[in-house]
């Protein structure tokens, strides 16, 4: 029997069928149809978000009681107004003096309230477009909501990222996975690229990358202090992807100087200079959304990959003897191995806690006991 009591692992696949569902946050219009071929920049759906609202205290501005508001307004609900246009007026001393209230923005009068004396002006709608993000074929459409796009691709998940979706050609900067990415390595050729570093990226290197116009950086680790300096604030919870930053950062291993996993590094190396789509969005809840690197491989025959998909993922199978795992907590943090035993009884670890454990055989042949919660499955 397999065990499911483990931390969900990261995917690192040289060939898989990547499906991306692109949905609008509100209902709108789908611009492509099933079977269409799209590239990563194709706009696949569009919606209009209602505009911002400006509240004008007309009663206050005109010096009248709220219940008199409608009487002194020059506009009614639904009327369009231009910025600076008078929307209300009071005449004093037989019309000798006039007090006016003006529209602070252009838009439509949405509500006139004789209770509060306020007028709400809604600015014009804001278009919202969703692009395909990856090239491929539209395999499913959701009326008024979006589409699903499919492409054979290499697919790698990082552990943490910041910044949203970006596209560019991959560029190996580091020669080895344990190198530190320095500003010197970033030059004019890096412009518009997704750079792959080694064990660490410093804030200095990130700043140089921004100046150079780099689209993204994929690296093993980052110090929390550098991340804070880069973002300008401390991250309290790992829900990211919406940061207003000029490049996307994907960390594959964790915080601190940690060499990128050899296998991840060599997989990325294979696709040097190829176009990729990346997304730093991370949402760490139990199911987790991890940052990702999608390297489209249209040359692969889709049918074969579809067959491949039929195979059960490690993730679905759970932990079994032979499952490749990475240990993600001290004292073996970062070590790779395979599950050698899954004892059923609880075992006491150094903290004196009785926990469910597994025995893992590490790459160097050493066998270690670790809590099942402290491994993640590596899916290849």
């Amino acid at each position: 029997m397999s065990s499911q009591a483990y931390t969900p692992g990261l995917k690192r696949k040289a060939a898989t069928l990547v499906r991306k569902t692109r949905r609008l946050p509100v209902q709108g219009e789908v611009l492509v149809k099933k079977g269409d071929a799209v590239n990563s920049d194709t706009i696949v759906a569009r919606a209009f978000l209602s505009g911002d609202v400006e509240v004008v205290n007309v009663a206050g501005l005109l010096g009248i009681d709220p219940w008199e508001t409608s009487r002194y307004l020059l506009k009614k609900e639904g009327d369009e107004v231009k910025e600076g246009e008078p929307i209300g007026m009071v005449k004093l001393f037989f019309g000798l003096f006039k007090t006016r209230a003006y529209a602070p923005v252009s838009g439509t009068i949405e509500r006139i309230s004789d209770v509060t004396g306020q007028v709400l002006i809604r600015e014009s709608q804001v278009p919202l477009e969703v692009d395909a993000y990856i090239p491929g074929e539209v395999v499913e459409t959701f009326p008024n909501e979006g589409v699903t796009i499919e492409i054979p691709a290499a697919f790698i998940q990082g552990i943490f990222g910041v910044g949203g979706e970006r596209k560019g050609n991959l560029m190996m900067i580091a020669e080895n996975p344990d190198e530190v990415l320095t500003p010197k390595q970033i030059g004019s050729k890096s412009k518009g690229r997704i750079l792959v570093g080694g064990a660490l990226v410093t804030n200095d290197a990130l700043q140089k990358a921004i100046k150079t116009g780099v689209q993204g950086i994929v690296v093993g680790g980052i110090d929390d202090h550098d991340l804070t300096t880069f973002l300008g604030y401390k991250i309290g919870i790992a829900i990211t992807g919406q940061e207003d930053i000029p490049l996307t950062l994907i960390v594959t291993e964790g915080f601190g100087e940690i060499a990128m996993s050899e296998k991840t590094f060599s997989l990325l190396e294979k696709f040097d200079d190829k176009p990729v789509s990346i997304n730093g969005a991370t949402q760490i809840r139990a199911g987790v959304m991890r940052p990702e690197i999608v390297i489209p491989r249209p040359e692969l025959v889709k049918k074969k990959l579809a067959d491949f998909r039929g195979k059960k993922d490690f993730l679905e199978q759970g932990l079994l003897p032979g499952t490749p795992v990475r240990i993600i907590r001290k004292p073996y943090f970062g070590a790779l191995g395979v599950v050698s035993k899954l004892p059923v009884p609880l075992q006491t670890v150094e903290t004196e806690s009785d926990v469910r454990v597994l025995e893992a055989e590490l790459a160097n042949g050493k066998r270690v006991i670790v809590p099942r919660a402290n491994v993640e499955i590596i899916e290849e």
Binding site: A238, G254, F255
Partner: protein, 617 residues
Amino acid sequence: MTPPTEPSKREIRPEKVEVILATDCGSTTSKARFFKKLGNEYRFVASGEAPTTVEAPFEDVTLGVRNAIREVEELTGHKILNPDGIITPTKGEKEGVDLYVTTSSAGGGLQMMVAGVVKTMTAESAERAALGAGAIVMDVMAVDDGRRPHEKIVRIRYLRPDMILMAGGTDGGNVAHVVETAELIDAAKPRPRLGIEFELPIVFAGNKEARGAVEGILGKTFALNVVDNIRPVLEFENTDPARNVIHELFMEHVMSHAPGYDKLMKWTPIPIMPTPAAEGKMFRTIAETYNTNVIGVGLGGATTNVYSIYENKFVRTVSANLGMSYSICNVLKEAGTENIVRWVPFDCLEKDLRNRLYNKMIRPTTIPQTVEDLVVEHAVAREALRLGFEHHKLLARPLRGVQRRRTIADIFEQRAFEESYIDMLQVDWLAGTGGLLSHGPRRAQSALMLIDGFQPEGVTKLAQDSVFMMPHLGVLSTVHPRAAIEIFEKDCLVRIGVCIAPRGVGKEGDIMRVVVRMSDNSVLEEQVDFGSIKAISLEEGEKAEVEISPYRGGDVGRGPGRRRKVVVEGGVVGIILDARGRPLVLPDDDDMRKQKLIEWFKALDAYPQRLYEMCGE
């Protein structure tokens, strides 16, 4: 709309229930607890845990629940699952359960925005009501909160809450400001977090004179529910009607749209309860059973929930983003690195500590394997508890806007009405639950975390949840109170002991003396230097009479420096004599601080020898 599963308590015949399964779908972990009637009483049998699977890539809460239950099956050999869900009722000795109940805080729990007219009056009452219902309050909006109308509209639109509670005005009082708030909400047109095509539920619990206008503005676009005013008059707060409708809407509008909950709701014959609501129910049980003032805490992965039942007033706060896994770095952010490091007795580079916590944040389901890691997590826990309690005290305070006559004593003591009404000298019980507290390998660790986080004063009983089952028993108590109470007393509530701690700070050389008369009439005399802590063994179920002579200026409930005689009950740690002073201040000098921590840990035998070896002891 009818909830997918109507409460069907009628169908449950408690006398027929022999085997019970309860689960809690936490933000990090789904926990299954298996109970059985053994002889004539209900007892806890086994537990299983697995990562929660409410979010991508799984997006089905039942997968995590199944995995947790599978652990129970493995450990007990009792078959519970079939392809459709839970086998009910039992079939023979080793198959099925008679009752399945569950709580949930997964997927962010119940996230609410509240609004009122005056920040410290109706908005504060609305916040208390939402928190009381077990919600996480994302924002509190009020006419006088200092934000401009368009800023509020942008904020409401951005938040995407599960529900909005709107209060404002006493009955027959202000209408205009209530309408203004409704207009802002309408203008923002917020969408619910789950299910983009559904109407966002709004509960209006404000001035009854404003109901017509509010219905006119919000009734068409939102699922508006009108209930009795939360502050019908300034002197009275009426949170129950709002709280009840929030619970109904939680099931109807929120849970039913969360991934996999449609299935889960069919597995259980009673409504899924928000975890903090169920947890609070059990803390109330302690207060009711022992007729006493209780402070309880649920230290979770994403939130810290603090409960006080003080002079019959029940207040619950949920500090979102103060937790031990997803939000561990938010504790770091709020408390500051130096406040966490101060609880660590070994050399620890701040940079390493921060990276260690960030790595926990991105891999939240991992657990400490080394003592070093355990101590660091306990350091964070102390700060999460301290911050959670500070937040709680902001809401556990007298109603604002009520005219009070200040007495001469108030003037002399310069007592401010803004302060919390919780007087730690009057708190009789301090109890904790949550993964970290319940799974602490030694109970003395939880005792120290609770004491350092809350700083109880006088004589306070300490208790904790044995293996984290208070939420499970809370929801069970709604349909089978007998089973819930029996398991609570025998298997859940672990009596840690009693903490004796004088209020006030002494000087070096000051001494607290105690004379302990055991039940066999043997007498033990102990003295504790100011700045130290000590434990006297007194087993669970045993009683002793203790005469306490605090250090000069120290108050144990009879006034500064005065003696107190009290009968105390034992526990797994016993009588803890805490003469470290209140407030508790750690030495500024780094070496002295580490030395003191080791001294305190050793005094309570809190950690394995390995820790002291690491510290060069």
